[in-house]
């Protein structure tokens, strides 16, 4: 029997699949629904200080290579979220709070707010590629900015702290190192790439309501695997390998590159909400065939000479 339990620092998971932020997960009930489909942990849709309606639709498109989204951080805002995400034990899997903001001060404020809500960890997202005022559009994701935001959040929370990075940076290992130095307990890599654009040729207009959108799914996977590989070389903390994981084979690639757990988002579209269970089953098969007994023994093996 292969053992697929996973560990992210002191956080123990029944299996390595983690619902990535922003795919379903907008309400407690929605998180529960995903957990009931086999996810080892679930991440809530990112919360901001104020409520946000997000970009006009279309907010999600898919094409031959993957998905583009310009959701634009729609969420209830922290005040309503504190009423929504209560008694999180009912969810049936560890719940990761996802916080995002345009400034260090707001990040610190949000970290303080989510502290006592029963979350298993908090993820600071500094990497959205398509929402003005946030992520890469706010200059976040440089080593300096990463260090500052991570330290500000670290100062306000004792929860395990994950920092979620963008692939659109030079030297992602260096950015991850800055997060580790400032007190991060794990790195989530990666957020969507691009941004990209799709134009309707009959009207001549970009289709997404936000004009541009973050790229996820199949097209992102090789980049995500490479990012995890680079980060593994730079830090000692665990990595949640996220980006284009659709199958157990893809999850295995992430673990071999250095991930301790795998984030899954876009695959919900291609394979249904029970993709978590499917990926776990397939991963066990892949591990068995390759002779790995557990995730720990498989992690980072792509780096061995």
């Amino acid at each position: 029997m292969v053992d697929i339990t996973a560990k992210l620092g002191r956080l123990k998971l029944d299996n390595p699949t983690v619902l990535a932020s922003g795919i379903l997960g907008v309400t407690k009930a929605s998180l529960k629904y995903v957990a009931s489909n086999g996810a080892g942990a679930v991440t809530m849709k990112s919360v901001t200080v104020e409520p946000r309606a997000g970009h006009h639709a279309p907010i999600i498109l898919t094409y031959e290579g993957g998905m583009l989204n310009s959701v634009g951080y729609s969420n209830q805002g922290i005040k309503e979220a504190k009423k929504e995400f209560i008694s999180l034990k009912d969810v049936g899997a560890p719940v990761i709070a996802s916080i995002t903001a345009g400034s260090k001060k707001d990040f610190a404020f949000l970290a303080e707010q989510v502290n006592e809500m029963g979350f298993a960890a908090v993820e600071a997202v500094i990497s959205c590629p398509h929402t003005p005022g946030f992520g890469t559009m706010a200059g976040q994701g440089t080593p300096d900015s990463t260090r500052e935001i991570t330290a500000a959040v670290r100062d306000k929370t004792k929860l395990p702290l994950f920092v979620k990075l963008s692939p659109s940076v030079q030297g992602i290992g260096e950015v991850a190192k800055a997060a580790e130095d400032a007190g991060a307990d794990a790195i989530t890599a990666i957020n969507t790439g691009g941004p990209g654009m799709i134009i309707d040729v009959k009207t001549g207009k970009p289709i997404l309501g936000g004009t541009v959108g973050g790229l996820s799914g199949d097209a992102l996977r090789p980049i995500a695997v490479r990012c995890v590989y680079d980060i593994y070389k730079s830090v000692r903390i665990p990595i949640i390998g996220t980006g284009g994981v659709m199958t157990g084979e893809h999850a295995a690639q992430m673990i071999l590159a250095g991930a301790s757990a795998v984030g899954i988002g876009t695959a919900v579209y291609y394979r249904g909400a029970d993709v978590f269970r499917k990926v776990c089953d397939e991963l066990q098969g892949v591990m068995k065939e390759a002779g790995y007994k557990n995730i720990y023994g498989m992690r980072g093996m792509a780096h061995e000479e």
Binding site: L24, S30, V34, I60, Q76, D200, G209
Partner: protein, 265 residues
């Protein structure tokens, strides 16, 4: 590999249905069944869900009730304007039984009309209860007459048909007996009443339930229902019992940010 991208089509015809209600007809072979919906795109403006209300060989249409900025713009669309459609999404109604009743409130008649036509084609005895605030808001009265569909009209103010709620007319029919199945779409308070009446009379029913929908295909989560948490857009059409199991049914929906909005009573 499947993809979700709008197909852009010119509006073929605009039909004036009632005060603030227009239908837009497109020439296109749409692979849809009664009960399914489309996401309709106004380039550079927005994309919103609308039921398929006209479904014929080689053409289809939607019926838009003016309630806000996007529906207002759709109601101003002219022949030749380019709009995009994504879908169809959701599950269709399951047509069964020998005697059925369709209960529509307001624009709820939209997804039910193609079902009435299909039922008629199959020789199923159909009664279409169409309700509105008053006569000027009533849709499909002429259309039903032309199609030979038996209707019962109800208005809140009695300006046309019976002065009562659609559910009062339904209750009378259920009491009279012999009904195999009820299908309904409209304001949620009405849907809940329909589902409860059908439960009481032990008659099967299906309701088309709506939530704020941004994607239509089960990814964004904006249509997740409490307590089960599944995305409603993957279904939309639910059995009465399924709907009654949803804790928020008739209680609240959510807006674009996900904030709860109680239904007005």
């Amino acid at each position: 590999m499947k993809s979700e991208l709008p197909i852009t089509l010119p509006v073929e015809k605009v039909i004036d249905e009632a005060e603030g209600v227009k239908s837009l007809i497109f020439r296109h072979k749409l692979d849809a069944k009664p009960g399914q919906f489309l996401m309709v795109w106004i380039p550079r403006v927005d994309l919103k869900p609308f039921g398929v209300s006209y479904l014929e060989e080689g053409s289809f249409g939607i019926t838009v009730c003016k309630v806000g900025p996007t529906s207002e713009k759709l109601c101003r669309a002219k022949k030749g304007d380019l709009l995009g459609i994504m879908g169809p999404y959701g599950k269709p109604f399951t047509l069964e039984g020998r005697r059925i009743i369709l209960v529509a409130g307001g624009y709820g008649a939209a997804p039910l009309f193609p079902l009435a036509e299909e039922a008629k084609k199959k020789g199923i005895t159909t009664t279409f209860i169409i309700g509105a605030k008053s006569e000027s808001y009533l849709i499909y009265r002429e259309r039903a007459k032309k199609a030979g569909i038996n209707t019962i009209i109800t208005t809140d103010d009695g300006s046309c048909g019976r002065k009562c709620f659609t559910t009062d007319a339904l209750e009378d029919a259920l009491k009279a007996g012999g009904i195999d199945k009820v299908y309904s779409c409209g304001p949620e308070i009405m849907l809940k009443k329909v589902a409860e009446l059908c439960r009481r009379h032990q008659v099967k029913c299906e309701v088309s339930m709506h939530r704020y929908m941004k994607c239509g295909f089960g990814v964004c989560g904006s249509c997740s229902v409490d307590d089960q948490g599944f995305p409603l857009c993957k279904k939309v059409v639910l059995t009465g019992e399924e709907a009654l199991r949803i804790k928020e049914f008739g209680q609240h929906s959510r807006d674009a940010s996900g904030t709860k909005q109680p239904f007005a009573r």
